[in-house]
């Protein structure tokens, strides 16, 4: 579902005398449907940077990110922004550690939004959003409220609900269980496992080794693609 070849990414800080920070040097990996790949390596090895590149949030400098979209392969590293948006709508989901809330938009609407954007009737989208929030045990009293005042764990579950509701075929997970208590962690892992069983190809960062072992089939060691200047 996703094939990455020789991906390079670094940052040039123009405001710091064009300081050059290389992060990824030659990442190559494949993920098939129904498979979960863990990104492993210490902090600062570019795990989140890689996920952001795969989502098109960061611009890749070299290499290709081919994703299976509408029955064909599309290289996200070279795609037009409008194609990237279509891939995000129909194919590629991303669950980050942080929720970006929209002022005045209720939690329920926020979770239903990815479906509405794909043309699902608003009532059906709402019903599925309710199911999802109930499943993730977010108290019903919170549904009409915008999530910016929620606790970290509540926001995280809103994020997970929003990321999983579309049942997209490729999922990128950046610490989806980071700020959760054990019970809620178990529920989230169960939902991710279900998505996997349903055929989703998943790439994730999990600092929780138990979660990683339960979910992932393989690991990609990020230290393998460190730029030379950063090695050691």
């Amino acid at each position: 579902m996703l094939a990455v070849r020789n991906l390079h990414k670094g940052f040039t800080l123009h405001l710091r005398d064009r300081l050059r920070l290389p992060v990824l040097a030659g990442v190559s990996l494949d993920v098939r449907a129904g498979e979960c790949l863990a990104l492993t390596g210490p902090s600062g090895t570019g795990k989140s940077t890689l996920l952001r590149c795969l989502y098109g949030n960061y611009r890749s400098e070299q290499g290709s990110i081919r994703v299976r979209h509408r029955g064909g392969w599309l290289d996200l590293a070279r795609a037009h922004p409008r194609q990237v948006l279509a891939v995000r709508r129909e194919t590629l989901g991303y669950i980050s550690q942080f929720l970006r809330a929209v002022p005045r938009v209720s939690t329920l609407q926020l979770v239903a939004e990815p479906l509405v954007a794909r043309g699902v009737a608003p009532q059906d989208a709402r019903a599925r959003a309710e199911d999802m929030l109930r499943r993730l045990r977010l108290p019903e009293a919170l549904w009409p409220v915008p999530p910016d005042t929620f606790s970290g764990g509540e926001q995280q579950r809103v994020n997970v609900a929003r990321g999983l509701i579309g049942r997209l075929p490729v999922l990128l997970l950046d610490e989806p269980t980071a700020s959760l208590d054990p019970d809620n962690k178990a529920v989230v892992l169960e939902c991710v496992q279900e998505a996997k069983t349903a055929g989703a190809a998943i790439i994730g960062i999990f600092h929780d080794t138990a979660a990683r072992d339960a979910l992932c089939d393989r690991a990609y060691d990020m230290t393998a693609a460190r730029p030379e200047t950063c090695a050691g």
């Binding site: 123009h14 952001r52 948006l85 929209v102 002022p103």
Partner: protein, 258 residues
């Protein structure tokens, strides 16, 4: 979002006397898409917007509008009357200052109704119903529809202006710093309103603003301008989270995070 652009500018350059306000601009807007244009004051954002809307004639380059029937109109080669007709029926222009886009001595209802009259609608009942409907859409109480707009607050006037521009159900909306002089809570409300209406009506938008939070919320794609030229354009979140050009990096770094 269909793939043929609704509006396309190719190699557009605008000059005022010896000053080049925008230089060699290529930009396209597609149906149902929000395109943000950011940059410092004097970067040429508003000039570009007015050029895209057919108000300012470029020194060189073309702006082509494709109507609902698929016919292409080279804006700056059209007769004035044809251009005015398109501007009346197919697009709207929301100005930064409400007094540039409204008639302050007329009532809110009359302000919203006027574009319909200009499009040839003559049935009073229908005009009144439409005005009431669009005032409600921008969350204004229709009880006040017979009050003069100059008695309204800045935020309310800006919503009347929005209603006045939506009443003809345009395919394309130009917004020039629509939240410019408003206080923050009013800005948030107006932005959210624009976001919802645009999604519901599937109208394409070109949004000029200083406000990076606003473009993050609203725009699908983003253009960064500096000294009359485009220095960077792309997916909004990519340009804001991973800016490539020195000026875009400065712009993003200067923004306060909240």
């Amino acid at each position: 979002m269909s793939d043929a652009p609704l509006l396309e500018a190719e190699a557009v350059t605008c000059r005022f006397g010896r000053v080049t306000a925008c230089r060699d601009i290529d930009v396209a807007v597609h149906a149902g898409e929000i395109l943000g244009i950011v940059g410092e004051s004097g970067a040429g954002k508003s000039t570009l917007l007015r050029c895209l809307a057919g108000v300012v004639r470029p020194a060189s380059g073309t702006v082509t509008y494709t109507d609902a029937g698929g016919r292409e109109h080279p804006l700056h080669a059209l007769e004035d009357s044809a251009l005015r007709r398109l501007a009346r029926t197919d697009w709207g222009f929301v100005h930064q200052h409400p007094h540039d886009g409204l008639r302050p001595h007329l009532s809110a209802g009359a302000n919203v109704a006027e574009p319909l009259l200009r499009c040839g609608e003559t049935r009073y009942g229908r005009i009144r119903t439409a005005a009431r409907h669009w005032l409600e859409q921008v969350e204004l109480d229709p009880v006040r529809m017979d009050d003069r707009v100059r008695t309204f607050s800045g935020g309310m006037q800006q919503r009347v202006q929005l209603a006045r521009n939506l009443v003809t159900e345009p395919r394309l909306l130009f917004l020039d710093e629509p939240t410019g002089g408003l206080d923050v809570s009013v800005q948030a409300r107006l932005l959210d309103l624009i976001r919802q209406l645009v999604a519901r009506l599937q109208v394409a938008v070109v949004l000029v603003t200083h406000d990076l939070a606003a473009v993050r919320l609203l725009a699908h794609r983003l253009v960064v301008m500096q000294q009359g030229g485009i220095v960077e354009q792309g997916l909004t979140d990519q340009v804001l989270d991973d800016p490539q050009h020195a000026y875009s990096q400065l712009l993003v770094a200067s923004e306060l995070r909240c």
